[in-house]
């Protein structure tokens, strides 16, 4: 409202005249402005619950993983370890394991064996400190009908009293660590990239949560933290968390960032098997170094009929499926089921019906 002598106000009645500011107009404008600002302040009130613990200067200035030298990485690891201890009460053993030369990881899964028990899903949740509420699971087991590899026909939410179901087979899907990954292509800030040992990793402190990688993944392997992850507590109220942590793999994540299966880097880069493999009750999962010709996975790729999902997309997955047998059968069905009358129920009566000729239906 202060007049500007050589630039009359827009509402000046006449050129060069004095502006007319009355009490009423001043009050009206004042009340209008004040109430507008009050409304603005009230609109911003929810921010009082905003968790600022993640907005430290150190975090803000932290550089991309690939730019962190050993000393800086040490500092970062210590800071993260302190934070984890403060926030969750768990003292982590946090490391940054580097890939070993001459190692490229490959996963193979025997589809003839998987019974769909989902122990791998939950072992992964436990090992990798996944959020329990909302529950996040890297692995999704598909119940597939016989005769089809079309995932459109999969059932994700099967809940039978007993698995496996004779009419279905089970196909667990997790990140395939593709050699030509679409997710790495689309990330605008290189928050996800592929490491020399074949694992596609995410720098959780760099990701901005745009979810372009989630849209790009053809296997629905990537997950987003829609809110702060929550964990379970034991009887004493302490957080249950796997303390063996790695920077690029299973340290606790925050809201707003992406995550996915990373082949349990905290284990595999230390030479161990991933958690999903170790828990599988039927030994359907195989893992190892493809560059070692004596490894299990090398043998499988050489001798078994392997295939990959959506091969036509050119992603070159490092996750192979193979069958070598017919569908698993359920327990509790009749003995010798499937052989028809060739082998009647044993009655201890000797060799009758046991010769090879019985198979052709000839009488003993």
């Amino acid at each position: 409202m202060i007049p500007d002598n050589d630039q009359p106000l827009p509402n000046d009645p006449a050129a060069g005249g004095k502006p007319r500011v009355t009490r009423r107009s001043f009050l009206r404008a004042g009340i209008g402005t004040a109430s507008g600002l009050a409304a603005l302040a009230a609109a911003l009130v929810p921010l009082k619950d905003f968790d600022t613990s993640d907005l430290t200067l150190g975090k803000f200035l932290q550089r991309h993983y690939k730019e962190l030298g050993p000393a800086e990485m040490d500092q970062v690891l210590q800071r993260i370890a302190r934070e984890v201890e403060q926030r969750y009460g768990v003292r982590p053993e946090l490391r940054d394991l580097k890939p070993k030369d001459g190692v490229e990881f490959v996963y193979a899964l025997h589809l003839g064996r998987c019974i769909g028990c989902r122990k791998c899903v939950h072992a992964c949740v436990q090992e990798n400190n996944l959020s329990r509420l909302p529950e996040m699971q890297y692995i999704r087991v598909l119940e597939m009908p016989r005769g089809s590899v079309d995932v459109e026909r999969a059932n994700h939410n099967y809940d039978r009293p007993q698995v496996p179901d004779p009419e279905h087979y089970y196909m667990p899907v997790q990140c395939h660590q593709c050699a030509n990954p679409p997710c790495v292509k689309v990330c605008p800030i290189e928050a996800t990239w592929q490491e020399p040992d074949g694992v596609t990793v995410i720098d959780y402190d760099w990701c901005i949560g745009c979810r372009y990688c989630e849209a790009a993944c053809p296997y629905w392997a990537r997950r987003f933290n829609f809110t702060k992850p929550r964990f379970t507590h034991d009887a004493n109220g302490a957080v249950i968390m796997n303390p063996n942590m790695n920077y690029l793999s299973n340290r606790p994540r925050k809201e707003g960032v992406m995550e996915k299966c990373h082949f349990c880097l905290q284990r595999t880069r230390a030479g161990r098997m991933p958690a999903c493999l170790e828990v599988c009750p039927v030994g359907a999962r195989k893992f190892g170094n493809i560059l070692d010709p004596e490894s299990e996975v090398s043998q499988i790729l050489k001798t078994k009929h392997v295939f990959v999902l959506k091969q036509e997309l050119g992603t070159i997955p490092r996750f192979f499926y193979y069958f070598d047998q017919e569908y698993p059968r359920t327990a509790g069905c009749l003995p010798n089921e499937g052989y028809g009358d060739a082998f009647p129920e044993s009655d201890g009566s000797g060799d009758q019906g046991r010769s090879g000729s019985a198979l052709q239906g000839a009488p003993a």
């Binding site: 500011v21 009206r28 609109a43 939950h122 030479g271 010798n336």
Partner: protein, 237 residues
């Protein structure tokens, strides 16, 4: 910006009254922000826990060991202690007095002596009559299940726990009988762990939003006993 003595009353009115609404309007808005209804639903309730006993990586079965022994009336006894006392039956009896838990359902095998040596009861016998100890039982399986044995040796069949990198640790290949009951080798069916509503709908407190499948809502938390293959073999008296 003051009222003008000039101009009609209508125009004065039409000038003034809307501006009087600005203030109260914003204050009503402010009140709405501070005291209005909550528009946001976030997940509530307890995080889901899965009994970690269900996720044990121990082998599914405990084997008999070598020399094999079982508990009889509270005392550990080796095979020969009993079997030296009586003649073995050539044929398989219809009902076993001891080892009653054994249910033989192994394909075309219908006799104990297909695998167990008739005289040396703490040994196993191959098809050519060769005797092998219990700790080499995989050779016995191999005599019929050749391709599977070949796969097992390569690591394509069965579970390997431990280290893939043998320069840093041991790769433990589980043996046949650590997963398969030699008398009923088919792996029993299990109760699957159910996926949470979580992955389909992060707002878990609203329950399952789009799952059309019945029975998908019960909690995951289970105690032991639902996993029919989980407990190690027990001998019954």
């Amino acid at each position: 910006m003051g009222p003008s003595a000039r101009g009609s009353p209508e125009s004065r009115l039409s000038r003034r009254w809307p501006s009087a609404l600005v203030g109260p309007g914003f204050l009503v808005l402010a009140a709405w922000f501070l005291y209005g209804p909550e528009t946001v639903l976030v997940p509530a309730g307890e995080p889901i826990a899965v009994d970690s006993r269900l996720l044990s990586i121990a082998p599914r079965r405990e084997t008999l060991g070598d020399p094999p022994s079982i508990e009889v009336e509270g005392v550990r006894r080796t095979c020969v202690e009993c079997h030296a006392l009586f003649e073995p039956s050539v044929e398989t009896p219809k009902r076993l007095l001891m080892h009653a838990h054994v249910r033989l359902d192994h394909g075309i095998n219908d006799r104990c002596r297909n695998c167990h040596h008739l005289q040396e009861r703490d040994k196993l016998v191959l098809h050519d009559g060769n005797v092998i100890p219990f700790r080499e039982s995989q050779l016995l399986c191999a005599k019929c299940h050749g391709p599977t044995f070949r796969d097992w040796e390569r690591g394509a069949h069965g579970r390997s726990n431990g280290y893939w990198d043998r320069s840093r640790g041991q790769l433990v290949r589980l043996k046949c009988s650590q997963c398969h009951d030699p008398h009923t080798p088919r792996i029993p069916a299990m109760d699957p762990l159910v996926p949470m509503p979580g992955p389909r709908d992060p707002r878990a407190d609203r329950g399952v939003s789009t799952a059309p499948h019945p029975g998908a809502q019960h909690p995951v938390f289970r105690l032991g006993g639902t996993d029919s293959g989980g407990s190690p073999e027990r001998m019954e008296k």
